[in-house]
C-alpha cells in the first residue's frame, strides 16, 4: 500500500467516489482548473471533465445552496469551502436547508451532500484561517460531522460521507495535511510516510460514520480527541508517561458513546481536548455526556483543555494552541485528583 499524506488520501477518495458513481460532482472556489488551494482536488477536472469538477464563484451560500438543489435532483455533490472560517455565509443553507430538508418534507426530498472544509490552526493563519467550528454543526439536528486525524481514516470517512444519504460536514485538520503534527511547532515535522496510518489501501473502502477508534490503549485516563489534537494527546501521553487511553472520535455526530463510556468506566478519569474556543465547544457536550453516564465511575471531574475564549491570534498562535504541555499538565492534574476548578 502506498504511503499517502492526508491530502493525497482525500484526493484519492474523490477519484474513487467519482469513478464509482457518475452522480458525484465536485466544485468550489479554485477547485476545478487549479485543483484547490490545498490541492485536494488536483487532477479531477482533467480526468473527469468540467461537467464533474469545476470552479465556483466566491459565494459560499451559493455553493451550498446550489449543491442542495443538485442533491435534491439526484446528484451527490461534494463541495469545498476554502477554509472553515469562511463557512459562515453558507451557514443558513446548511442549518436551515440541508439539515432539515428530509425531515420537513417527510422524506420526500433529501440532501445527500458532503461539505468539505479545512479547519484548525497551527499554520500561522491568523483568526480567519485557523478556526474549528465543529460545535456550530454538532448542535444542529440533521447533519453529521466528521473530523479525520490521519490519511487512512480521511479516505474511508470521505467515501462514507459522499455515500451517506444525508448532509455531512467533513472537517479536515489542515495542520496534519502533511504530517502527524504533535504540537511541538519548534521541532521538525514528521512526514506521514513515517506513520502507519499513512498506509492507504487503493480503491474503495469506507469507515462507518459514528465509529470512534482507540488511537492508543491505556488504563489510567481516557482522553477524548479528534483531528490534530489526537496527535498532541499522543505526545502528551508519551511525555508525561501517563497510561492514557486516547480515543479518536472521528465523527462527532453521530458520536460513539459506547466506546467513550466503556473507556471511562475502565479508567475512571477523562480529559477532553480541542482547539476550538472553550465555552460551548464540543468538549462541553463530551464532558456533560461522560459525567451523565459514568458519574459513579469518575474519580475526578472531567477536564477540558481547549482554545481560549478569544479570537485565534496570529503571533501568539502557540500560546493559544492547546499543545502537549498544556494537555500534559491537565493529564497530570487529573491523575493527581488535584483538579479544582477549570483545567488550563
Amino acid at each position: 500500500m502506498p504511503a499517502m499524506t492526508m491530502i493525497q488520501a482525500i484526493r484519492d477518495a474523490h477519484f474513487v467516489a467519482m469513478e464509482r458513481d457518475s452522480k458525484v460532482v465536485v466544485f468550489g472556489q479554485d477547485v476545478g482548473f487549479f485543483g484547490g488551494v490545498f490541492r485536494c482536488t488536483q487532477g479531477l477536472q482533467e480526468h473527469f471533465g468540467t461537467g464533474r469538477c469545476f470552479d465556483a464563484p466566491i459565494n459560499e451560500s451559493g455553493i451550498v445552496g446550489v449543491a442542495i438543489g443538485m442533491a435534491a435532483y439526484g446528484l451527490r455533490p461534494c463541495v469545498e469551502i476554502q477554509f472553515a472560517d469562511y463557512m459562515y455565509p453558507a451557514y443558513d443553507q446548511i442549518v436551515s436547508e440541508a439539515a432539515r430538508l428530509r425531515h420537513r418534507s417527510a422524506g420526500d426530498f433529501t440532501a445527500p451532500l458532503t461539505i468539505r472544509m479545512p479547519m484548525g490552526g497551527g499554520i500561522f493563519g491568523g483568526q480567519t484561517h485557523s478556526q474549528s467550528p465543529e460545535a456550530l454543526f454538532t448542535h444542529v439536528a440533521g447533519i453529521k460531522t466528521v473530523v479525520p486525524s490521519n490519511p487512512y481514516d480521511a479516505k474511508g470517512l470521505l467515501l462514507a460521507a459522499i455515500e451517506d444519504d444525508d448532509p455531512v460536514i467533513f472537517l479536515e485538520p489542515k495542520r496534519v495535511y502533511n504530517g502527524p503534527f504533535d504540537g511541538h511547532h519548534d521541532r521538525p515535522l514528521t512526514p506521514w510516510s513515517a506513520h502507519p496510518l499513512s498506509d492507504v489501501p487503493e480503491g474503495y473502502y469506507t469507515i462507518d460514520l459514528g465509529s470512534a477508534r482507540v488511537h492508543r490503549p491505556g488504563n489510567d485516563l481516557t482522553v477524548l480527541a479528534y483531528g490534530t489534537l489526537v496527535h498532541v494527546a499522543q505526545a502528551a501521553a508519551e511525555e508525561t508517561g501517563i497510561d492514557a487511553e486516547i480515543i479518536d472520535l472521528r465523527t462527532l455526530v453521530p458520536l460513539d458513546v459506547d466506546m467513550i463510556i466503556t473507556s471511562v468506566v475502565k479508567t475512571g478519569r477523562c480529559l477532553v481536548v480541542h482547539e476550538a474556543t472553550r465555552t460551548s465547544g464540543f468538549g462541553a457536550e463530551l464532558s456533560a455526556t461522560v459525567q451523565e453516564r459514568a458519574f459513579h465511575h469518575l474519580e475526578a471531574p472531567v477536564g477540558r483543555v481547549c482554545g481560549w475564549d478569544t479570537p485565534y491570534p496570529h503571533a501568539h498562535e502557540w500560546s493559544y494552541f492547546p499543545g502537549p504541555d498544556r494537555v500534559g499538565q491537565a493529564m497530570r492534574n487529573i491523575m493527581d485528583e488535584q483538579m479544582t476548578g477549570v483545567i488550563a
Binding site: L75, L101, R102, H103
Partner: protein, 421 residues
C-alpha cells in the same frame, strides 16, 4: 458628534412610500401597462436588447377583454376554461381556509387573493418533469397540477393524514411527485437551490427546467444574489420569478427595490434577459412563462420575470394590515385576474353567466367536499395528529443511536405523564 462646522447637504433618504396612505395610487403609478404594446423578443435576444422593453409591462388582455399583441393567442378555449377553473378553485380554497381559521379549526393560513393568475398560468406553461421551488404564496401551482386538495387541507390541519406528519407550519407543502419543492420558512433560500437543481438537470442531460419563486421583498435577501450569480455564470435552465405584490408584510416594495426602477432591472445587472409582466393577466403570465421555459429548454439560459401584482389580503392570518395601509376592502387595485379572464372569455363569445355560476358552484363543491373529508381526519387543534414519536423519524435516513435513545426517553416520559395524570 454632529460637527456643525461642516454644513452638509447629505440627508439620508429613508423611503416614505405613499403606499402607507394611498396604496392604490402608489401601486398604480408603477404599473401602467398598455395591452399589446410590448414586443416579443427573439428567444436568443440578449439581456441588453431585451432591456429596451424595460419601460413596458407586458400585458395581453385589454380593458375590454380582448387578447391583443404579439404575446396573445397561445391558449385554446378549453385551456382558458381550465385556467379560469384553476384560479377560481384557488380562490375558493383560500376562502374556505380563512373560514376554517375564523372557526378556530386551523391556527394559521396564507392566502394569495388577487395573485391567482401567476402560479396557475405558470404551472400550465411548464412541462411534466419541470420543478417548482415555490414560496408560501404559490398554492396555485399545486392546485393547477391536480394535487389532491384534501392533502393540502390535511397539511393545513396537521391532522392524522397530513403528508408532512405535522412537522410543518400550515401551507408549507411539499410534493416531489407534483414537482413542488418543500417550502422553507426561510425566505429566498430556495431561489438558489432552484438554480442548483437546474444545473443538475443540465449536467444530467435532461431538458427539465427549474422554476424559482421569490417575493419582491425577499429579493433583497442575499440568496437572491447567489441565485443570479450562479444562474448567470453557468447559464442554468431556470426561470427566476419575482412576484412583486407591492408589499412585504407592512413594508412597501420601495425598500427592497431602492433606486432601481423595477425588479426586472436586477437581472440586467447579470446579463439575464428580464421582463416585467402584468401578473394579473392569465394570458400574459402563460405566454411569458412559456417563452422563458422555451429559452431554458433550448439551452439559452435563465430568464428573470417580475410579475406585477397586488397583495389584496393581509400577509397572513396573523397580520392586520389596517395598521399600515388603507383598507383594500374588496378592491383589486391592479385588477382581478379571475374577472379579467372571465371577461375575455365572454368577449370571445365562449362564456356566459350561466357557465360562470355553474363553475363557481362546482369549484365550491370540490372545496367543500375536500374539507369535509380532511376535517374528518381531525386537526391539530383537536389533538388528532400523527404519532408524536414520528418526530424522531427523517432527521436522518437511518436513525442514529442518540435519537433511538431520545425516542425511548420520550416514550417513557409520555408513559409516566399518562400514569401521573
Amino acid at each position: 458628534m454632529n460637527d456643525t462646522s461642516r454644513q452638509a447637504s447629505v440627508r439620508l433618504r429613508i423611503p416614505e412610500p405613499t403606499a402607507h396612505t394611498d396604496l392604490v395610487a402608489a401601486a398604480g403609478t408603477r404599473c401602467v401597462a398598455i395591452a399589446g404594446e410590448a414586443r416579443r423578443p427573439d428567444l436568443d435576444e440578449n439581456a441588453i436588447s431585451v432591456a429596451s422593453m424595460r419601460d413596458h409591462v407586458i400585458r395581453v388582455l385589454d380593458d375590454e377583454g380582448n387578447a391583443v399583441g404579439p404575446w396573445a393567442g397561445a391558449l385554446s378555449r378549453s385551456e382558458l376554461e381550465a385556467g379560469l377553473h384553476d384560479m377560481m378553485l384557488v380562490r375558493s380554497f383560500d376562502a374556505r381556509m380563512l373560514r376554517a381559521h375564523r372557526q378556530g379549526k386551523i391556527s394559521f393560513y396564507m392566502q394569495c387573493l388577487g395573485e391567482e393568475a401567476i402560479a396557475c398560468a405558470s404551472q400550465w406553461a411548464l412541462k411534466p418533469g419541470d420543478m417548482n421551488f415555490p414560496t408560501y404564496r404559490q398554492q396555485g401551482l399545486l392546485v393547477s397540477s391536480d394535487y389532491p386538495m384534501v392533502d393540502m387541507m390535511n397539511q393545513i390541519l396537521s391532522n392524522t393524514h397530513d403528508p408532512l406528519l405535522g412537522r410543518q407550519l400550515p401551507v408549507m407543502y411539499s410534493s416531489k411527485e407534483h414537482r413542488f419543492f418543500s417550502i422553507s420558512g426561510n425566505l429566498a433560500t430556495q431561489f438558489v437551490q432552484a438554480v442548483g437543481w437546474a444545473m443538475a438537470a443540465a449536467l444530467d442531460g435532461s431538458d427539465a427546467v427549474a422554476s424559482a419563486w421569490i417575493g419582491e421583498g425577499a429579493s433583497a435577501e442575499s440568496d437572491f444574489h447567489s441565485a443570479l450569480v450562479f444562474a448567470s455564470t453557468y447559464q442554468a435552465p431556470v426561470i427566476l420569478n419575482v412576484v412583486n405584490n407591492q408589499w412585504a408584510i407592512s413594508t412597501p416594495e420601495d425598500f427592497a427595490r431602492g433606486a432601481a426602477a423595477t425588479f426586472a432591472d436586477r437581472g440586467l445587472g447579470f446579463g439575464i434577459p428580464s421582463l416585467r409582466v402584468d401578473g394579473n393577466d392569465y394570458l400574459a403570465v402563460h405566454a411569458v412563462t412559456a417563452w422563458a421555459a422555451e429559452r431554458a429548454r433550448t439551452g439559452l439560459g435563465p430568464t428573470l420575470i417580475e410579475w406585477v401584482t397586488f397583495r389584496v389580503g393581509p400577509h397572513s392570518t396573523s397580520d392586520d394590515p389596517t395598521g399600515y395601509r388603507p383598507d383594500v376592502a374588496g378592491q383589486f387595485p391592479l385588477g382581478d385576474p379571475i374577472d379579467r379572464l372571465r371577461q375575455h372569455m365572454v368577449t370571445c363569445g365562449e362564456w356566459d353567466d350561466t357557465r360562470q355560476t355553474a363553475l363557481q358552484e362546482s369549484v365550491d363543491q370540490v372545496v367543500s367536499k375536500a374539507f369535509e373529508e380532511a376535517d374528518s381526519f381531525g386537526s391539530v387543534m383537536r389533538g388528532d395528529v400523527s404519532s408524536a414519536a414520528t418526530m424522531f423519524d427523517d432527521v436522518f435516513a437511518t436513525m442514529p443511536p442518540h435519537l433511538v435513545e431520545q425516542r425511548a426517553q420520550f416514550e417513557r416520559s409520555q408513559r409516566l405523564q399518562n400514569e401521573g395524570s
